[in-house]
Subunit: 366 residues, 2 copies
């Protein structure tokens, strides 16, 4: 087991990464001070529940905790205010109090949803993350929790740090191939934004990672979490630096929205967005990294272009609602070299539109 600490003053917390961790959920929860007098809630989804819910519940109950569970449908559609209200109903009916905890057992969707429940139930209770996807190595670090509004993604949320993240890599073996690649998109992104060596490591170990080799996976997750934790420690509430984590996300979120939050997985959409950012760097005359970036993404079996039936107008429209629109200007994270990016404010909308059009043309050509 590897231990990583996210340094956030009084909100610091540990991330444990290793094999066979879920069966120790109870003991580790006790160790981090979770109350045995209050009731707790596990939030998970229909794909994860059959594999791991019993294991987690048994572990917590054997350690003397009282737990209820709420199972939501799988997929981004569960990050809605409706599902959020249903989880709240379960929390109230299960008599959770101010000393209760919410355990998120699942991927990014479950983590974001359960995290926002924990952030807002009785104005905030304890939150524990039990990620079961590669993608969650990103979302489980940093305390950003949210649900979607029909008009835009992650519009309703909070900053709410977990007290502990238990990352059991054995849960990753049941992931479908597309989910694996989607998760690796965030992993390589962490290399692309601030660790050149790690970006190349991801390229070199692409086939090991796709094959879920435990050793490569543990190293990749640890390094990915560590990079994210370093950024978040310096800028918890996204005042400045933290924005670099959004590489590929402005276009990516718009692509997800236009696809109805189902057609593209999050990592697929941001892979397209990262290819777009490299194009933008080129067209702004800042760096010539497009081919190298695309090669890295393709090695991880990720898409790098827009299908021809996706409307460029709709993508541009969806981008208008993005949180990265600050005071009417368009902010973009632009690669400068592999392992280094800049936050560029005031990117011309016309340049972005040209990139979206080129992303689609690449799709038609490829």
């Amino acid at each position: 087991m590897r231990t990583l600490k996210v340094e956030l003053g009084e909100r610091s917390y540990p991330i444990y990464i290793g094999r066979n961790l879920l069966q120790h959920t109870g003991a580790m929860s006790a160790e981090c001070g979770i109350s045995r007098k209050s009731r707790h809630l596990i939030v998970t989804d229909e794909s994860v529940a059959p594999h791991y819910l019993k294991k987690v519940k048994d572990s917590l109950e054997s350690a003397g905790f009282q737990v209820a569970a709420h199972i939501v449908p799988s997929g981004e559609s569960s990050k809605s205010l409706n599902v959020y209200e249903e989880v709240m109903t379960t929390a109230i009916s299960s008599k959770l109090d101010r000393n209760s905890s919410v355990f998120a057992l699942g991927g990014g969707v479950v983590g974001d949803l359960a995290g926002f429940v924990a952030a807002s139930y009785m104005r905030g209770i304890t939150f524990v993350q039990l990620p079961t996807t590669i993608l969650a190595h990103d979302s489980s670090v940093g305390g950003k929790v949210a649900v979607n509004h029909p008009l835009a993604k992650n519009m309703i949320g909070a900053f709410h740090q977990p007290v502990m993240v238990l990352y059991d890599v054995d849960t990753l073996t049941t992931l479908p191939a597309r989910e694996v690649s989607s998760g690796l998109a965030e992993m390589v992104k962490h290399g692309l934004i601030m660790d050149r060596e790690f970006a190349y490591w991801c390229l070199e170990h692409a086939s090991d990672l796709l094959a879920l080799d435990p050793e490569s996976l543990t190293y990749g997750l640890e390094r990915g979490c560590a990079i994210k934790a370093e950024v978040v420690s310096q800028d918890e509430r996204e005042g400045g630096l933290r924005a670099i984590l959004n590489l590929g996300h402005t276009i990516g979120h718009a692509v997800e929205a236009v696809g109805g939050y189902g057609r593209f997985l999050h990592g697929e959409a941001i892979a397209i967005g990262m290819a777009g950012s490299a194009m933008l760097a080129e067209s702004l005359g800042r760096a010539d990294l497009y081919h190298e970036t695309v090669a890295m993404l393709k090695a991880l079996h990720l898409p790098v272009s827009l299908p021809s039936d996706v409307s460029v107008d709709q993508v541009m429209e969806a981008m208008q609602h993005d949180k990265k629109f600050s005071e009417g200007q368009m902010v973009f994270i632009i690669p400068e070299q592999i392992g280094k990016v800049s936050i560029v404010k005031d990117v011309p909308v016309a340049a972005v539109r040209a990139v979206v059009e080129r992303l689609q043309k690449e799709g038609e050509n490829g």
Copy 2:
């Protein structure tokens, strides 16, 4: 104009109390650093909008701010997730960004709802309170914001401090008599919990207060806000001391819930709750303050008993969901003398039930 500072470190903020303040909203917003580049949202309700929305909007626009407005129905029913989502839709459609602000123009309902929107829109934006009720002198200090869940009040929320409170006492002249008394319930509560002299001042000036005499009102609001600010400064997130502000609220919230959040105004319900707390102090053998407390509440034209058609069982059931149920024990704020209370954990449920029954009997007798 009187100025009061709520001391919360980097989240400290000023409360301005005086006549004719709303027409200076724009200038004062500029002074406290609100961005002219971003768009802002005024949230208000159907009762307040016809009187003051234009004044506030004009003042902000003359000062160079771009503002949209969202008008919700009057009353507690607007503190729902549905209305919350509607306000979010307006915020997104109006293109609010991370540097935008939400202005709450209204009473406690508008403040709580708009405050939770501000707390969670894009994970938190700037919040300004423009209270138009006496009750709001309580809710606008301390940063507690929330909406209700059908099963329990204020279950979904956050701690989110405003950057400024502008309290224009001229807005109070249009309040209906029941609303005036309801607001005075929180005012006298602030005396009852920690300022004996102020509690008696409220009793002596009851008729001035009910008649909305500006001088008495300004003093009462200032003192009420100051007491609340003092408690909140010491315990922002309700770790301990802050709980004393809940005098009368455990029974009060249950009474509101059973009345469907409409039959009893908040202050009426907590007046009944404060009468109940005094009874409880008596039955636990701690203090003999029932008659004195009731006299103070009656002087402010507040109810002190439960109507005979309110079900005691339902009140007891509603109390089970209260946030003040901690780890299965019942926590009550119990008066020790006028101006002093204790936090008593582990109050027997049977003693509480006896009090609720007696509150109803008093209603039948009176």
